[in-house]
């Protein structure tokens, strides 16, 4: 086996991560118009109109997520592996793996199910359409703890690591990502303004930080794979 082919599983997993995030961006921004999000202050009639307006895009885009959303696990797998390469306890790697795996159902299944249910029956009672709309957007923006603690676990591992798997500044970028989960909390309370789920802080600032963070960790994972030397015997187990 040549040196390059021996990294096939890492490279395939990495390409799947890139493909997943590209699909995610295209579906959420272009097909479904879930991002930027709908207005939280819509009355029931306006929510019904929102569902009717985006009917086809919602159903098709969410179907793509239903089909291929499981590929999100590739980034979880790679990041878990990155922590295994660090000079820290396996507890960090397994914590990250569990936290991000359980985030899948509340973090992206719920919005797909709720908004599909709304789009499927545009003639449903507008008050119920609003209930589905709230469930969709709030479960998506408001599933916070798993990402908050998950980012802090990864950050701590990076800062403690002496194997140089990631640069220390990236540890602090994890802190920024964790803070987005803190400042999004008021979207459970406010229906208007910068703290609402579509607001300047809860959406615009958060989406920029999350986009930057995701882009950076994808590139750093690529660098980790390129530099991946023989495995420490302990990490292979």
């Amino acid at each position: 086996m040549t040196r390059d082919t021996s990294k096939r599983e890492l490279r395939l997993t990495w390409y799947a991560t890139v493909a997943f995030y590209q699909m995610y961006a295209v579906v959420f921004f272009l097909f479904t118009h879930i991002q930027p999000p709908g207005q939280p202050w819509y009355d029931p009639r306006e929510v019904s109109q929102w569902f009717a307006r985006h009917h086809g895009g919602l159903l098709f885009g969410l179907a793509l997520i239903f089909a291929l959303g499981g590929l999100s696990a590739t980034s979880i797998g790679l990041i878990t592996y990155s922590i295994r390469r660090m000079s820290v306890s396996r507890a960090f790697a397994y914590s990250y793996l569990i936290l991000y795996s359980v985030s899948a159902v509340p973090g992206f299944m719920f919005i797909c199910v709720a908004l599909t249910a709304g789009a499927m029956r545009p003639d449903r009672d507008p008050k119920l359409q609003q209930w589905l709309y709230d469930l969709g957007f709030l479960s998506f923006a408001g599933t916070m703890g798993v990402f908050l603690i998950g980012s802090l676990v990864w950050m701590t591992a990076i800062l403690l690591d002496t194997n140089g798997v990631f640069p220390k500044w990236f540890g602090y970028l994890n802190l920024c990502n964790a803070l987005t989960e803190v400042v999004v909390a008021p979207s459970w309370i406010f229906q208007r303004g910068m703290f609402a789920w579509n607001g300047l802080i809860s959406w615009w600032v958060d989406v920029v930080v999350f986009g930057l963070y995701t882009g950076v960790f994808i590139l750093l994972l690529k660098r980790m794979i390129d530099r991946d030397g023989p495995l420490p015997a302990e990490a292979a187990a």
């Binding site: 599983e9 890492l10 089909a67 696990a73 295994r84 499927m120 029956r121 292979a236």
Partner: protein
């Protein structure tokens, strides 16, 4: 004397669990035949009033046992340790989806149980819970699709003289992933083979899941370490 290993206990329990799954499947009045997405709110409400007990008992059983698949998935993950891979990354990917697939099903059972909890609720509310249950149940395949794809890749990359699973198991998993995919698109139509009560999205998908569990159980049975001494050594080394 040969003693039974823990892994054999897990795999040995599977036929029993499978009998429970099949019984619950046929006990749920909404599966035979599958409820139509075209039913009006009044018809859906009438269904829950008529079949309250059947929905409750079958979905309580599903809620208990759908997650019983997880230990079997972990047997596959353990076999993956023996694959000629450089890193454990594909095993982590498998673990990453192994919990979510049964939990998606568990969530569907919660919506069905909610619909049946107050059969005298306003029909539109019952219909909404029913929609949420069926969409979660039918479209909630992303983790199963990814699981089959990860396993297929893992098997194809397991290039050694005596691979853990034969290559055909990899091809088989690709076929299963493809058979599951159409169910994801069930929201797009209310009639025909791709609707949630359709030939492809209901019967095709659920048959694919049943076939996958059966075939993987048989493949696992051959791949488990037979000898207790070897198994304990392997367990202790890992």
């Amino acid at each position: 004397m040969r003693r039974t290993t823990g892994e054999q206990v897990i795999l040995g329990a599977l036929p029993l669990v499978a009998v429970i799954w099949i019984a619950a499947f046929f006990l749920f009045p909404g599966f035979t035949p599958p409820m139509s997405p075209r039913a009006s709110a009044a018809q859906v409400a009438e269904f829950y009033r008529k079949h309250t007990a059947g929905v409750r008992y079958s979905m309580i059983v599903f809620n208990w046992f759908c997650v019983a698949l997880i230990p079997v998935l972990m047997l596959i993950v353990e076999r993956m340790r023996g694959m000629a891979h450089r890193t454990p990354v594909l095993r982590y990917c498998m673990i990453g989806v192994a919990g979510a697939a049964p939990i998606a099903f568990l969530t569907a059972s919660v919506f069905w149980l909610l619909a049946a909890f107050r059969p005298d609720r306003a029909p539109e509310l019952t219909q909404m819970y029913n929609d949420l249950a069926w969409i979660t149940f039918t479209c909630g395949v992303p983790f199963l699709v990814a699981q089959s794809l990860f396993l297929a890749v893992a098997i194809f990359l397991d290039q050694q003289s005596e691979p853990v699973f034969a290559r055909w198991v990899g091809h088989f998993n690709v076929v299963i992933a493809l058979a599951l995919l159409p169910a994801a698109f069930a929201g797009l139509t209310e009639s025909g083979p791709f609707a949630w009560d359709g030939l492809v999205a209901f019967w095709g998908k659920n048959t694919a899941i049943a076939v996958w569990i059966t075939v993987m159980a048989l493949v696992l049975r051959r791949a488990l370490p037979r000898d207790h001494a070897a198994a304990t050594t392997a367990e202790a080394a890992a």
